[in-house]
């Protein structure tokens, strides 16, 4: 067991090492920056916030037991100083860092950790992330309203937290790094009630100074933050209600430092071919796959040959051009950044003749009529049209149903309703950098239920068993073996073709020329914008 300690201690040290700045850049001290978004920031309550705008702000307002090294998917202890895992993978013991304070001045202690995670699970909180904690003993009782606490979390002293799991969960350390595991002070949460989301108090790199609803949020550096040299800016102001086109104009004039919504399609080529492109555009990979879910319970899509034919019919290169080339064609569910991604896997190549032959074999030489659901937000209807043309080339007539996201999601979660769904604008981007997050909800049997997100209604008991086996390998030394095992789950399921993996979309953020640092702290795989790490250069 000692080697764990050793390893985590080293990892902890590495986490404290400030991100190596690019050679010719020195961060300016005392700088503040302006970030814009089109939509309001809904909430900064870490148990509730779950969209890509507030995700990175919540990350920087609160601290968690585990964290990722900026710009990477590497887990390191954060609020925890060290941790131990028992060989059976069912008991995790964390030692907390001493002297860490909430922005109201009180020290963070073990009972805060227990309280915060119980709060995220408690039905009264109405939090979307409760399910992530399903492995902790006592989860069902709290989630089902039969208990008020989690029996699986113990706090023997102020600086020790012990988690007892009901089953081994190799993703548990990731779970402790997601926003829902953020540590909140009980007394403040109870005093503010549901308004905590607008008046958050945490122990992260920044504190929220001011929030003018509908206009701006002002964040200020937390001078007592426990990670050395972090953050590197004195604060940032988030201006909301900013149309992306106007935000970009303002950015070019130096009024805005980060246009959070990126570059509108209409402007993309102009900016990309402009003189400042290299300084302004940050284009980064994310843990995302855009796919067509083919409903395995709707005729004639229940025939695997038909699904394979549809896979071969799609010209993915052409579809990436619709998003200005901001995506790479995909052949498997996992995105390339994800552990387990098989770079040698070929998938179904674009082959219309073979597709037609397969359709004929399945008994549909003249094709058939079906429907393709898609989000009505640009560019998804255009992508759906491209798919429609591709399918038409093999005789499949797909009627496009472009609806509001909520309606598409509702149709996908109703058995027998949506024959095919283009996932763009809704799914799937990983919550944490682990392949299991790409399986359970969207491809596993558990997700193939009313209101679920497994829109293919694909349920393969054999693969489910392999998934469970992989998730039981919680020994970090078996990390690579586990990733490989997971990889085969995804490549094997492609034989059943429940999805057409279409592309892996990259995110684009526009930043002002004075912003420094590598692109992966503006499009951090676990945070989007990493406010802790970004800086203004001399």
């Amino acid at each position: 067991m000692t080697h764990w300690l050793h390893r985590t201690a080293i990892a902890g040290l590495m986490a404290l090492t400030p991100l190596v700045a690019l050679a010719d850049e020195t961060p300016v001290k005392g700088a503040t920056i302006v970030v814009t978004y089109k939509d309001d920031i809904a909430t900064l309550d870490p148990a509730i916030g779950y969209d890509w705008q507030n995700w990175s702000m919540i990350k920087s307002l609160f601290s968690r037991l585990m964290e990722y090294t900026p710009g990477t998917a590497d887990l390191v202890p954060s609020l925890a100083e060290s941790f131990e895992i028992t060989p059976d993978g069912q008991t995790y013991t964390f030692k907390l860092r001493k002297g860490v304070k909430f922005s109201n001045g009180r020290e963070v202690v073990a009972s805060d950790v227990k309280y915060s995670i119980e709060r995220a699970v408690n039905p009264k909180t109405q939090g979307p992330g409760a399910g992530f904690f399903g492995a902790i003993s006592g989860f069902d009782d709290l989630s089902g309203g039969k208990a008020q606490s989690l029996s699986g979390i113990e706090t023997p002293d102020d600086y020790t937290v012990v988690f007892k799991l009901s089953r081994p969960d190799a993703t548990f350390l990731h779970v402790l790094a997601i926003n829902f595991s953020s540590i909140v002070p009980k007394e403040v949460v109870e005093a503010e009630g549901q308004d905590f989301g607008k008046k958050p108090v945490g122990s992260g790199a920044f504190v929220l100074k001011d929030w003018v609803i509908g206009q701006r949020l002002v964040f200020e550096k937390n001078p007592n933050f426990y990670v050395a040299d972090t953050p590197k800016i004195d604060g940032f102001t988030v201006e909301v209600g900013q149309e992306p086109l106007v935000a970009l104009l303002r950015l070019q004039q130096g009024e805005v430092d980060i246009a959070g919504d990126g570059i509108p399609p209409a402007k993309f080529l102009e900016i990309k071919n402009g003189p400042d492109a290299a300084d302004i555009i940050v284009d980064g990979e994310q843990l995302q796959t855009g796919y067509v879910a083919i409903n395995t319970r709707v005729k004639p899509l229940d025939d695997v040959k038909v699904r394979q034919a549809l896979n071969m019919a799609v010209n993915k290169e052409r579809i990436t051009r619709i998003v200005n080339g901001r995506a790479t064609p995909a052949n498997q569910p996992l995105p390339p950044l994800m552990p387990g991604y098989d770079k040698d896997f070929k998938g179904y190549a674009y082959d219309i003749e073979k597709a037609k032959a397969l359709l004929a074999e399945a008994g549909y030489p003249d094709g058939f009529t079906t429907a393709l659901y898609a989000s009505s937000t640009d560019p998804n209807p255009r992508i759906a049209q491209a798919l429609q043309q591709d399918f038409a080339a093999i005789g499949v007539k797909a009627e496009i149903k472009a609806l509001a996201n909520a309606n598409v999601i509702a149709a996908g979660g109703t058995e027998g309703e949506a024959p095919m769904i283009w996932s763009g604008g809704m799914a799937w981007i990983a919550d944490f950098p682990d392949p299991s997050n790409f399986y359970g909800p969207i491809l596993g049997c558990a997700g193939a239920v009313q209101g679920g997100w497994n829109w293919s209604w694909y349920c393969n008991k054999d693969l489910d068993a392999r998934a469970i086996a992989a998730d039981s390998m919680s020994d970090p030394a078996k990390k690579d073996e586990r990733a490989k095992l997971w990889g085969t789950v995804f490549t094997d399921l492609m034989a059943d073709a429940p999805w057409i993996p279409v592309f892996n979309e990259r995110r684009v953020v526009a930043k002002s020329k004075r912003m420094g640092g590598p692109g992966n702290i503006y499009i951090d795989p676990t945070r989007v914008i990493n406010y802790d790490a970004i800086y203004v250069k001399q």
């Binding site: 089109k38 939509d39 309001d40 809904a42 909430t43 309550d45 509730i48 779950y50 039905p123 009264k124 109405q126 939090g127 979307p128 992330g129 409760a130 399910g131 992530f132 399903g134 989630s143 089902g144 309203g145 549901q194 308004d195 989301g197 607008k198 003018v212 609803i213 509908g214 206009q215 201006e239 209600g241 900013q242 149309e243 086109l245 106007v246 935000a247 104009l249 303002r250 004039q253 009024e255 509001a404 996201n405 909520a406 309606n407 999601i409 509702a410 149709a411 979660g413 809704m426 799914a427 799937w428 919550d431 997050n437 909800p441 558990a446 239920v449 009313q450 209101g451 679920g452 997100w453």
Partner: protein, 306 residues
């Protein structure tokens, strides 16, 4: 007068109740389940069920509506599903911006519309008349988004006379108000023109001119006030419309009005906010019309408050 106000207020309450009932039923009859939307993509069935229960969405629709009305009567619009903040707080935070833009937008509309309409009427059939009518036709047909971006590009981004975005000072309101005003002025210009043409053929105008009253006085003293009546009615309608929010103009200028709140709430199936904004803007439409009705007899004594 008092009786009229009371009667109209009673009617207004009925209208608001109707709006509330219809909106409520429509929103909850949508196939999109707010609990699923809120629970997000990683939620288990248990989480969705828990959220549905906590929000009271598992109760019969009628019960939910009665509950909503009960709270409403006490001035409680409920809390936003996604933000958890009180709907009233969210609306109040955006009300000042909406009111300012409403007032300034209408002022610009009326000022431009009245001037152009009068000029056109006086030059009836001539070149100026045709020019004004063409311009106003272009104005009413031009897409808000394009005009707003154009004004922003020229006067804020290029000439830098005004800030590009935001709220707070007089210079911030100029471009949004101008956009609304320029686009809406066309309606007013056409309305004023036809009303003026109508008035100018009246006997009392001829009499005034025959008496030798100065043309200037004839127009400003005798003609314009009599042509104002339809304008007042239109202002009443605009008050209601602008109070519901002007989504596009608000979006382009980063104007923190109610329109953006409503727009985002619709995307997120945040029913309490949609209900709140709908009720507030219905209230504004009702009030706007009431004000127009009350002002009309002051302008034209022939209309008696009934």
């Amino acid at each position: 007068m008092i009786e009229l106000i009371l009667r109209r207020l009673g009617g207004a309450l009925m209208i608001l109740f109707g709006v509330a009932a219809i909106t409520f039923v429509l929103l909850y009859a949508l196939p999109a389940d707010p609990a699923v939307q809120l629970a997000g993509r990683s939620a288990t069935a248990q989480t969705v069920a828990n959220i549905r229960h906590e929000l009271g969405l598992d109760q019969p629709l009628l019960l939910q509506f009665v509950h909503y009305l009960g709270n409403l009567v006490q001035g409680d619009f409920g809390r936003s599903y996604t933000q958890k903040t009180e709907v009233m707080t969210l609306i109040l935070a955006r009300l000042p911006a909406t009111l300012i833009l409403m007032v300034t937008g209408i002022l610009v509309e009326v000022a431009i519309g009245l001037t152009l309409g009068t000029i056109a009427a006086l030059n009836r059939g001539g070149f100026v008349d045709r020019l004004v009518m063409t311009v106003s036709f272009v104005g009413v047909s031009a897409p808000q988004f394009v005009v707003a971006l154009l004004l922003l590009y020229v006067f804020a981004a290029t000439l830098q006379w005004f800030p590009m975005s935001g709220f707070g000072t007089f210079s911030h309101v100029v471009l949004p108000a101008l956009t609304l005003g320029v686009l809406g002025a066309g309606w007013y210009a056409r309305m004023v023109r036809s009303a003026m043409i109508d008035v100018l053929t009246q006997d009392y105008i001829r009499t005034a001119r025959a008496k030798g009253v100065a043309e200037r006085t004839v127009i400003l003293r005798h003609a314009v006030p009599n042509a104002l009546l339809p304008i007042v009615a239109m202002i009443g309608i605009d008050i209601g419309q602008f109070m519901g929010g002007v989504v596009v103009v608000e979006a382009v200028y980063g104007w923190p009005g109610i329109g953006q709140l409503a727009w985002q709430a619709i995307q997120q199936v945040d029913i309490p906010i949609i209900m709140g904004v709908t009720l507030i803007s219905s209230l504004a439409i009702v009030t706007g019309n009431l004000i127009a009705d009350l002002v009309a007899p002051l302008i034209d004594p022939r209309i008696r408050a009934r």
